[in-house]
């Protein structure tokens, strides 16, 4: 903090100062240099995700606490070291699964061993709804998807003064996918540059070696021609494995719990 940063003689209600438009929504950023936010050491962001909009995976340089102000959807995180505990049902049909497993092997899922077959496996995905408060650690990738019909509005505070922020007092999102043609307009010196995803910074050769894929696929991962922004529209089904919604629990299960 600079000296006298909290010498505030007047407070005022703040509106967002920057809007990042994207294919399926927008991200509104409050100016974190505003005196009262600077004194508080926080930045504030509002995500407005349209129906079928996917906010692409990103992580930040500091702790973040979010609140779902409106709508409902899905939220996924990828925490280092956690297993992909969400697997699709074909894994659980053991006998049948075995046959499929062999078959599965043939479909290029080499090296899975044990002959298991599956459509997908990934880390935990949760339903989020209005009122939910979501904690995010620095460096942990997170994505949101609006599977409802109304807008999904999420507001977040980023604690720039936290000791967990090892960088400067600026909110710095790192995107794993996508491309933001407008750039990090809230950062001085970045207004004119598009913000690309992390893979874009590596040479395609490195990416192809790291992922063991061909160079053309590696180049696709760099989203060079992509102008959709950080919230993209999902066309067609979004077949992410998800638990049933609380209200969808089987009737019998609920009666049992009442009996107890």
């Amino acid at each position: 903090q600079f000296p006298n940063e909290c010498q505030l003689d007047q407070l005022n209600a703040l509106e967002p100062s920057h809007v990042l438009k994207a294919e399926a929504g927008r991200i509104e950023v409050w100016d974190h240099h505003a005196p009262q936010l600077r004194c508080s050491g926080v930045a504030f962001v509002r995500y407005i995700i349209e129906s079928k909009g996917l906010y692409l995976p990103s992580f930040f340089n500091t702790a973040k606490l979010s609140f779902v102000a409106k709508g409902n959807g899905l939220m996924g995180r990828v925490i280092p070291g956690c297993a992909e505990t969400f697997q699709d049902s074909s894994v659980f049909q053991q006998g049948q699964g075995q046959e499929q497993g062999q078959q599965g092997q043939g479909q290029g899922q080499q090296g899975q061993g044990q002959g298991q077959s599956f459509r997908d496996m990934h880390q935990k995905v949760e339903h989020i709804r209005s009122g939910d408060t979501i904690a995010s650690s620095p460096g942990v990738a997170q994505w949101f998807f609006n599977d409802g019909n109304e807008e999904l509005v999420i507001v977040s505070v980023l604690d720039l003064a936290s000791h967990q922020n090892q960088l400067d007092r600026n909110p710095r999102p790192f995107y794993l996918a996508g491309n933001n043609p407008q750039g990090q307009v809230w950062l001085q010196g970045r207004e004119q540059q598009p913000q690309k995803n992390l893979l874009n910074g590596f040479t395609p050769e490195i990416i192809s070696k790291a992922f063991k894929i061909d160079v053309s696929t590696a180049q696709q991962l760099q989203n060079n021609q992509d102008n959709r922004g950080n919230i993209v529209r999902v066309k067609g089904p979004f077949g992410v494995i998800r638990p049933p919604l609380r209200s969808q629990r089987p009737q019998q299960e609920e009666e049992e719990s009442v009996g107890n």
Binding site: L56, V78, W143, Q166, L167, G178, T203, K209, K212, I213
Partner: protein, 186 residues
Amino acid sequence: GLEETICSARVTDNLDDPSNADVYKPQLGYISILNSYDLPILRFLRLSALRGSIRQNAMVLPQWNANANAVLYVTDGEAELQVVNDNGDRVFDGQVSQGQLIAIPQGFSVVKRATSDHFRWVEFKTNANAQINTLAGRTSVLRGLPLEVITNGFQISLEEARKVKFNTLETTLTYSSGPVSHGRPR
């Protein structure tokens, strides 16, 4: 009470002993981590260290420090490094060699590939339990994402997404031959 805590506290640990390796591939090398679980006093310092020793053409898969800055000092040999910042720009693309130092800020992704017989380095991290996240590999962030997020995010086919997600079975060290660096940062 002090003599039972601070005075008798262990303050040293050796990182050059491969038998303590946390990551080990006989053909490629090893990586040892020293954090506050290994050396409790680091909790007070809020610092940790990492020691790496890899052979030629071994590559440390692209990764980022989730909760720490890192300062990498080369003790032996040479390696090619690429570092990418929050804007997706490559801010370092070149060789590092013995005696040199490079800082890798929190969140910046880095890939290392040994170009000499042995590349050895020590990394000091500004968190007592520094966590890394990898971009590729069996415990990577891409592996943890649903296929639909990958297909929609990168606009690639389901089949390509499967390859991106599952082809690399290693977690940290892999083999990588041939040049991967293109000189100056973009």
